[in-house]
Symmetry: C2
Subunit: 221 residues, 2 copies
DNA sequence: TCTCTGCATACTGTATACAATATGCAAACA
DNA sequence: TGTTTGCATATTGTATACAGTATGCAGAGA
């Protein structure tokens, strides 16, 4: 007999709610002005408030949402200083992964990263959202290959916040391709095995992203 | 008229439960064998299951607890590989803070850090717990002064996991003072302003901590 | 007209009831 | 005796009822 084990991977409704909220934020259906009300969301999804509440509180803890009027939630609104800090934290996480990879990588790792970069850089859509996704996928690949679950968690936390804060819209007016073309060099420097050079290269790359972001913010305002 | 504003800083019972659980873990009243049951905890604290549940799920999300038999929770049990990864993530966060501090610090920052290190290194109790606390306070001070809220959050997450996993007991048999005496040098290298040297110094320091930890684990088993 | 007070309303947080699921044990069967 | 089945129990996840708190508006008083 051969039966596949049945894995109800989503036991908790709260996880489903969480996923739906994240998706809605990504699709920009939830804007900075919207107030997220437990009862309303529960009614829309046709479930009780309890799981909705759990998902909202989780997003609050992750810094994606913040308490709004009457105790309901809204998107946390990031200022320029926080954007800077977020980039600094990216540098911390991704820089360390780069160091790890420089010292500790196989030929397969390099090949995998090259193919990943190639695939993602060939993004067809020319929207900020598509750019964001491709960029995230590439950077996440480095962290995945580095093989440290804590750093991967931090990566997701950081990018989750970026996703939430409408950091996309503001860069519509920047040449999206400019930054997306540099990733192959990152693989090259990892292959060199020089951990300090690799770290610096990654940090510079992230700094470039930050500069582009700021440029976008300036011209956008 | 002068009235102090009344700030019910803990609106949610869940926060109180969370704090109590963390404290209990720190006091080692909750061991790796204990199973945390919502109903039982609720009864002990004389509140309903709802806030207990929220606190437990938060600790689960943070990686402090994991699902145990019958869906209840127990302390997440870390293996040696994960301990290594945790140290790597510490290096990421604290190394980046060190870089930031090297480039960007005032005389007051340096003076504050020196006084903090001096004060904490003078820890009187000779227990693993006291050592852990002092060490954490010192390292947290660096991150605080670096002034990046995301890195501070990550720091707390990392040290929260360390706290939970009984990483103290295993180092009882190591000379606790050995590592605690090195912190003033960290301030010195920050003062030098060399960001690469500072990063390397911090990473080496954390690596030393890891080596001590491993030594403790080996001799303990 | 402007300010203040009080009430209606909109929410949340907490308790509790209910349904579903996993686990272990005991009894039935080979 | 060993294996399987079914039931009792433990424990969760979800829904819902209730109570408390914040907010805005309407009406009274200056």
């Amino acid at each position: 007999m051969k039966f596949r084990s049945i894995q109800p991977q989503r036991k908790r409704l709260a996880d489903e709610v969480y996923a739906q909220l994240v998706a809605a934020i990504m699709r920009r259906e939830i804007g900075p002005e919207d107030r997220l009300v437990q009862e309303k969301l529960a009614a829309d999804m046709q479930i009780s408030r309890t799981p909705v509440r759990e998902a909202l509180m989780r997003l609050e803890q992750e810094g994606v949402l913040e308490v709004s009027t009457r105790g309901s939630f809204k998107l946390y609104n990031m200022d320029a200083q926080e954007v800077r800090e977020l980039y600094q934290s990216r540098a911390a996480v991704e820089g360390q992964c780069a160091r790890i990879l420089a010292v500790n990588h196989t030929e397969e790792d390099i090949a995998y990263l090259r193919s990943k970069v190639k695939k993602e850089e060939a993004v067809s859509e020319n929207t900020a959202r598509a750019y964001f996704e491709a960029n995230r996928n590439i950077h996440r690949a480095f962290v995945e290959v580095a093989g440290n679950r804590f750093l991967l968690d931090m990566f997701d936390m950081i990018w989750g916040k970026a996703m939430a804060f409408c950091l996309f819209a503001e860069i519509e007016n920047v040449d999206l391709k400019k930054s997306l073309g540099d990733h192959m060099q990152l693989v090259d420097v990892i292959e060199s095995g020089d951990k300090t050079a690799t770290l610096e290269k990654f940090i510079d790359h992230i700094q470039d992203g930050f500069d582009l972001q700021m440029e976008g913010l300036d011209s956008g305002s």
